[in-house]
Point group: C2
Chain length 136, copies 2
């Protein structure tokens, strides 16, 4: 947990216990929605306010400490910022996995087909995870 305190400070965020726990939860779970975070945080901080979560999510995003992942047909989830990567989401159980892909090919294609200068790519794949697939 001392770990999380340091990484918070590196992002110019005061290391409060609530923030350390948010960090720990995101680290452990990978991706969590606001309500999921709230439910989990409340176990440790009984008097926790939703407002605190929103304020922290917002400042953590401003400081590029966490990133929002917008997923078609679902609520947004948040993750600790890391190098660019894609996501794959299970349509059955909503499990989310990070997946590192080489997008050079598509980015080259894209630059040829548009007059935009491209800065970043956000890719979300939808499918069915192996657990759900074997359960069918």
């Amino acid at each position: 947990m001392e770990n999380y305190v340091n990484i918070l400070r590196q992002h110019n965020l005061k290391a409060t216990p609530q923030r350390a726990e948010i960090t720990a939860l995101l680290d452990r779970h990978g991706h969590l929605s606001i309500e999921e975070l709230y439910e989990l945080l409340k176990k440790k901080f009984h008097s926790l306010s939703l407002a605190t979560i929103y304020k922290n999510i917002n400042i953590m995003m401003e400081n590029s400490f966490i990133t929002e992942v917008k997923i078609p047909q679902q609520k947004s989830v948040y993750e600790l910022s890391k190098e660019a990567h894609a996501h794959i989401v299970c349509q059955e159980c909503n499990a989310i996995e990070d997946i590192h892909l080489n997008l050079e090919g598509v980015l080259t294609q894209a630059s040829q087909k548009t007059t935009f200068h491209i800065d970043s790519a956000h890719l979300v794949l939808k499918g069915v995870c192996s657990t759900c697939r074997s359960a069918l």
Copy 2:
């Protein structure tokens, strides 16, 4: 406009004037947010209710007539459903362009790196359009 009436009916939607106009606006503008739609619709239907927009957006999505496009750091926009394609968004002026890309390469990569069975891909590119670029 007769056109829009037909395409609405093909999707099992009663062709009301409000719906025809929503269709026309999406067809003309490509991508619109809820508030943009509301502002534009109000010009034609002074007594229009936001509730009507929400109800229509929802039923149109259920009937796969329109599709929501979720964009990082911005409000969602809606478009008439068409064959799968990616989007490129200007960070300066929020302009959105459709872009058809061949994703075979990444999908192949992805299937090799995950145990998920992949059904669809949602790709949003971020960058700067040529107009904004020359304005810098």
